[in-house]
Subunit: 314 residues, 2 copies
């Protein structure tokens, strides 16, 4: 094992890796690709609503995970760019539908009016629907740039991550859980599906853009599961600790809506310890992946992203 | 050319082909497959809503088109069964979302309460979203039964048919057209996308389950375009001519909602003639496909379905 690639102490970034520089180069490609691919040609204002929902906003964590995982397996970068954008489209559509009056009834997102406020409820509904379809369209180009087996695998992973045993299923549990006292296992299951499935799916999609030994694939899946859950634990922590200026949204909202959270269940200190334990799990999975053998630091972006997910302040 | 396989006179069924028997055998497989595949394992009542939306209802025209087109190219029947169900899931999700209060606000469909009436608006929204994801999940099994290239092609065709340049785009035009006087070209474009894209896509998905010469594929695409449009023209005719008992829904609804229709644009007689002309186009495309060469009647189910689409009374 290369001793330079070690589990990060929590809060410490990889000394030799510039996550900010890495992210900014990759995000520029993602933004350009999204702008080119998202539906400028859609009729009757639908394209405007789709672009409003997707462009110029968000952390783009899912695209970064796809691209970092692709780098870890030295996969097809063009396929990964498509997968990165597809994962973001699924995330974006879920936010559009989540914000609708029949769901969370939110009027602001990232400081802008939500899609249904800007374009009307019916068009927001359709824009979300069309974004989901577009995600699968991006994964299946007919120009020979992405191998059939990669296209099929990417569609399989994304459909599972988005569907009833993934994101949509988690949202259904969330809907049914307001005002209920969930046990930790139930809370974990809800978040594993609602948020974790697409984050883990993003990692696995990146891995599917290359050829990796089965053990490496399984290790990346464990990494994805750990940071998927950690993301939500940290979200719950920030919901009670961050001020609204830093967070960019109203803190305390979950508690106000009587939604179960990790903080309400475990308390703040145990939630923080849990997030750090999940970070350690994620890094240990990468250690065991075999991808960093022979002096390569292929997983350094994944390591830094895990650290960022857990130790972010917004 | 085999003289037994000739364009049908409009209204006349193929003498040697039993569409009722063919359909009933195929529909039994489709219903069983849907019942097995639709989300009994989804959490928090989501599966119940998804199954309610899909099972035990509808003409299943899209699945029949997929299966008939697969027969025409002698393709992989298992792949076609998955594609047939996937096309129906997209159709079913579109009805769930169309019926929502923010869209058509319908409380009855096929004589039953609509999904949001039965399960609540939020769960209906999620059920629709999850059905769309499940469609792509059905197309991408990892059990070796469907070749990667077929999986990729089916996902590509379905995503395009469902998305912003297909069904969702057509619905956006529909939404923006209420109360407007559309020219025939605009009305045709709306229906080409809203209804036609998924019907044509179903034919092309069936064709993608086998290997056909490019000319045959192009002919099937023309067939699909013609019956896709014919379906809507006939819908508009039945909306003014059928009684509600036959139709199973309230006739005259489009006119009452001030939606543009073929009948409002062309009148009843010219609409009927147009539907027959489209049937003739569809049959001519099959004649030109080359699929019926050498005494085979591979397109007989497609021929009978086209006839049924145009000459149905509900």
């Amino acid at each position: 094992m290369d001793t330079r690639v070690r589990p990060l102490a929590s809060g410490v970034r990889a000394p030799d890796f510039d996550l900010r520089g890495w992210s900014s180069a990759h995000l520029e490609r993602v933004e350009q690709a999204l702008s080119g691919w998202v539906a400028a040609d859609a009729p009757a204002g639908l394209g405007d609503a789709m672009r409003y929902a997707v462009l110029d906003g968000g952390k783009r964590l899912r695209p970064l995970l796809v691209l970092a995982a692709c780098e870890a397996v030295q996969g097809n970068g063009h396929a990964a760019l498509r997968a990165a954008c597809a994962a973001e489209l699924i995330h974006a559509y879920s936010l559009v539908h989540d914000d609708l009056p029949c769901m969370d009834d939110d009027v602001l997102r990232r400081g802008k009016p939500t899609v249904h406020v800007q374009f009307g409820v019916a068009r927001a509904l359709l824009a979300g629907d069309a974004l989901q379809a577009l995600a699968f369209e991006l994964l299946t180009p007919d120009d020979g740039t992405v191998a059939d087996i990669v296209q099929a695998t990417l569609c399989r992973l994304l459909a599972r991550a988005a569907g009833h045993r993934g994101m949509a299923g988690g949202q259904a549990i969330d809907l049914a859980s307001v005002g209920l006292a969930l046990a930790e296992a139930q809370l974990r299951e809800m978040h594993r599906l609602k948020t974790g499935a697409l984050l883990q799916g993003s990692v696995m999609m990146g891995a599917a853009c290359g050829v990796a030994p089965a053990a490496a694939g399984a290790a990346l899946a464990r990494y994805g599961a750990a940071i998927g859950l950690a993301f939500q634990v940290v979200d719950d922590i920030l919901d009670v600790t961050a001020d609204s200026a830093t967070l960019g949204k109203t803190p305390g909202k979950d508690a106000a809506q009587d939604k179960p959270t990790y903080v309400s269940l475990l308390g703040l200190e145990r939630s923080r310890a849990y997030a750090q334990a999940l970070l350690a799990q994620a890094l240990a999975a990468l250690d065991a992946s075999g991808l960093d053998a022979a002096g390569q630091e292929r997983t350094q972006a994944l390591r830094a992203l895990a650290d960022m997910v857990v130790n972010r302040d917004k």
